[in-house]
Symmetry: C2
């Protein structure tokens, strides 16, 4: 399922880092700061991998021997339900962490939504590292905390009943992830399919489509092609988002 991991001969590639709002002090950027040494250590135990889209990194129920850090591309994490439907738990992007096990087994399936570059961190070695370096461990703790909050935010999204509102929240999340400044950068990349968006927002495929055309008709956002959206009216989008 996975191509054989390859370690780059010359480490010219960037070292893994983590994106998260800090637990404590407010800094300008929402990145947990790893020291050069910590990044080196992670790079040492980690294996850099590049996989094509649709690669299944691991399946729900598999024994967990590693966690992963996304470097480039998008990963989706999901659980297949008995009804044949799919619950998408999260999209992972650059500097995101995934593969956190429960009781030594993965709780959901991870699949590359695009071509993905990532680091594979073997659990035993990572554990050794974390046990020795409490600061590094704290960065991981912060990152997991960050994911917890994203999950709660998604829960709020799912609480909504209106399809346009849900899609608006999804758009807003994607925009903020891509570091969209308040004014410019209205373009939002949507590397996933509509079906993925449907599974993530808890809507049917058709409702996503309808909600998109609705946002477009109201001049709030434009959907150009499959994988790009353009936020036209930030104020009204924000209003829709907070109109829970």
């Amino acid at each position: 399922m996975l191509p054989k991991p390859t370690r780059p001969a010359i480490p010219l590639v960037p070292a893994p880092s983590l994106r998260a709002l800090p637990f404590l002090k407010g800094t300008a950027q929402n990145t947990v700061r790893l020291t050069a040494r910590q990044r080196d250590q992670l790079m040492t135990i980690g294996v850099r991998m590049k996989v094509p889209a649709r690669t299944v990194v691991y399946r729900e129920g598999d024994a967990a021997h590693a966690v992963f850090v996304v470097m480039e591309g998008a990963v989706k994490c999901y659980r297949d339900l008995h009804s044949g439907k799919r619950a998408l738990c999260a999209f992972l992007f650059s500097r995101d962490l995934f593969g956190l096990a429960e009781d030594e087994h993965y709780v959901n399936t991870a699949e590359a939504a695009t071509e993905v570059v990532m680091y594979r961190l073997p659990l035993d070695q990572l554990m050794t590292l974390l046990r020795r370096d409490a600061d590094l461990q704290f960065q991981f703790l912060s990152k997991i905390l960050h994911e917890l909050r994203e999950s709660q935010r998604r829960a709020i999204l799912l609480n909504r009943r209106d399809a346009p509102g849900r899609l608006a929240m999804f758009l807003a999340v994607m925009a903020s992830r891509q570091g969209a400044s308040a004014t410019h950068d209205a373009k939002v990349a949507l590397p996933m399919t509509r079906s993925d968006i449907a599974d993530y927002t808890g809507l049917s495929l058709e409702s996503v489509s309808r909600a998109a055309t609705q946002l477009q008709r109201h001049g709030i956002a434009a959907f150009e092609g499959r994988h790009h959206a353009c936020i036209l009216d930030r104020a009204r989008l924000a209003k829709l988002v907070s109109a829970v």
Copy 2:
């Protein structure tokens, strides 16, 4: 808002502990094991508090100076939405952790649903402890990971469209929290109000009520009084739960 914290003169009270499925090895009980020394340390920096029901421990947006561990009773964590509705993020019970901040501020409001006994752990002292004791920190990391999964499980609950199914999932969660064995202990305590259940399950108050009578009519569960349910047919409840 909060009564003055009091430290017990004689530490005859139980030390704080954390409930979580372990990250790595599967043990029989779902409790993270703290060493006696770690529990002592937590008890040393922590302050034991007993608050009556409806006490607001902290509000969304407050500066975060401490985290809390529930010893007895139930706490609810929520966010009030602009529409006047309330999104309940989580119920916290014995050995649960709450008050995890984002950027030095609490992200939701915590309120005692019943009379609650808890430990208040000042952040600065806890941080010092965690920085020194990587093992202790790992217990906290595991606990947060556990909460992350509970949050994802709730997201799956919210994905459902049918009220009886949602209520069934809620019941199952409550039952498993109270350590219900597969056969006995069919009684489930529901310390919260119907309104709280509605806010947690993302249903309207009325739908919760209707769903409850429906489960009762089908002989799956009986609701006796406000705060107690009795699971009558475990098999069919499980079927309803997994019929996503």
